[in-house]
């Protein structure tokens, strides 16, 4: 049975509601499997998180918090992610310390060659394996600005594109850096004047 044991939130601008990448680690019968849950703005990620919290409420999904304690209610699950969003997000540049990002794609040559060229230019692709019918692409993504404009998956009748985020063998297991949610009273003073 799959069990959510760890999660990481990478942000293009930490401390703001900018684009974020959410990765969860699932325990698949003893094997830790990192899966991207979404790359989007926070409000869109919360739709999925709320749904998963509802599954936790009835034990249809098991999840552990950062200390390894089971989350049993939807309130616990939401509180866990609220802490992640407010105090534990990491800069996207540190994603490559723990993970490698690879783009794989295939294109079935049936239609307009110009459409294929436009598609290749969109994702900056050059075929690695050419076949009369099927083109195969693979390249590594090493730049946050490059990843920012890539969807995690893109499927059309001719083409499929997937961004694979795989952990490095040396993935550190240290707890994430904790940044205080409110640094000083002065930081939240603007609420009084809104």
């Amino acid at each position: 049975m799959l069990s959510e044991v760890d999660r990481r939130l990478y942000s293009w601008e930490p401390g703001s509601s900018a684009l974020k990448l959410l990765l969860i680690a699932e325990d698949d019968h003893g094997t830790l499997r990192w899966t991207p849950l979404g790359k989007s703005w926070p409000y869109a990620l919360w739709l999925t998180l709320g749904e998963r919290g509802g599954l936790v409420e009835t034990q249809a999904l098991t999840a552990l918090d950062a200390a390894g304690q089971p989350l049993t209610t939807i309130e616990d699950y939401v509180a866990c992610y609220r802490t992640l969003f407010t105090a534990q997000e990491r800069p996207i540049a540190t994603l490559w310390d723990s993970f490698t990002v690879t783009l794989t794609a295939t294109y079935r040559q049936t239609g307009d060659p110009a459409a294929r060229q436009r598609w290749e230019q969109r994702y900056h692709l050059t075929p690695t394996t050419e076949h009369p019918e099927l083109l195969i692409y693979k390249r590594s993504v090493t730049d946050p600005a490059d990843l920012e404009h890539l969807p995690l998956t893109d499927t059309t009748p001719e083409a499929t594109m997937t961004v694979l985020i795989t952990p490095r063998p040396s993935l550190p297991v240290a707890p994430p850096p904790v940044r205080p949610a409110v640094v000083s009273v002065l930081d939240n003073l603007h609420f009084a004047f809104d």
Binding site: P42, Y43, W46, G50, E51, G54, T58, I74, E75
Partner: protein
């Protein structure tokens, strides 16, 4: 009566069209059937878009929508999705005639807990609400179904043919009043069973006698 696990068609539609407007929740009600084990639930919501107004009364458009039905997991999954929709203001709370206030996922979950505690017996749902559907098909169902349409036999007593296609391009229009959730489950499988189905819509209305 067994309530089947039903998907959330309206919820998925609302996710797609939440770009230019937000949704306003007016009521959220839960009905429970404790006769079986485990108990089964039906979740309905009175909801409307932020940018739709009635022409004459100048009130916001709102309607009762069937959100989810089935086991506790199905209901909590839908409640969690609604709670997640409040984070960016996609779902807001009606304050008065024109104002809305923002929820957070945390406050919406507290609201959902209260609704969960106040669940009403399912029998009161059928006293208060009417669930109807409209089916538009290219070819009308035959009056005496052949063997391949035998699974539809349970639905034909509930369907009334309102208009017959006089010319080929116009679909036939059936209207059906759904008496129980088992019939609703059968209706949900009609698109798989009837290739000529053009459109199927549901309407959840409050009975006038209950007002």
């Amino acid at each position: 009566m067994e309530i089947p696990d039903l998907s959330c068609p309206f919820l998925s539609i609302r996710k797609e069209r939440s770009v230019l407007s937000y949704d306003i929740e007016y009521h959220l009600r839960l009905f429970v059937d404790n006769t079986g084990d485990p108990p089964r639930y039906l979740l309905i919501q009175r909801v409307g878009p932020s940018n739709g107004w009635e022409t004459h009364r100048h009130l916001r458009v709102k309607s009762w929508e069937w959100i989810a039905a089935g086991s506790a997991t199905t209901i909590w999954r839908a409640l969690g999705r609604l709670a997640g929709a409040t984070e960016g203001g996609l779902l807001q709370k009606a304050q008065n005639w024109t104002q809305t206030t923002w929820w957070t996922p945390e406050t919406y979950i507290a609201h959902a807990r209260k609704v969960w505690r106040q669940a009403r017996p399912l029998s009161t749902f059928w006293d208060t609400f009417a669930l109807t559907c409209d089916l538009f098909t290219v070819s009308p169902f035959p009056t005496s179904p052949p063997a391949d349409l035998a699974p539809l036999a349970d639905l034909l007593p509930h369907l009334t043919l309102l208009s017959t296609p006089a010319d080929a391009p116009y679909p036939a229009h059936y209207f059906g009043a759904i008496p129980d959730l088992s019939t609703l489950q059968s209706l949900l499988t009609v698109p798989r069973r009837v290739p000529g189905l053009v459109q199927m819509t549901y309407h959840l209305t409050r009975k006038e006698s209950a007002l």
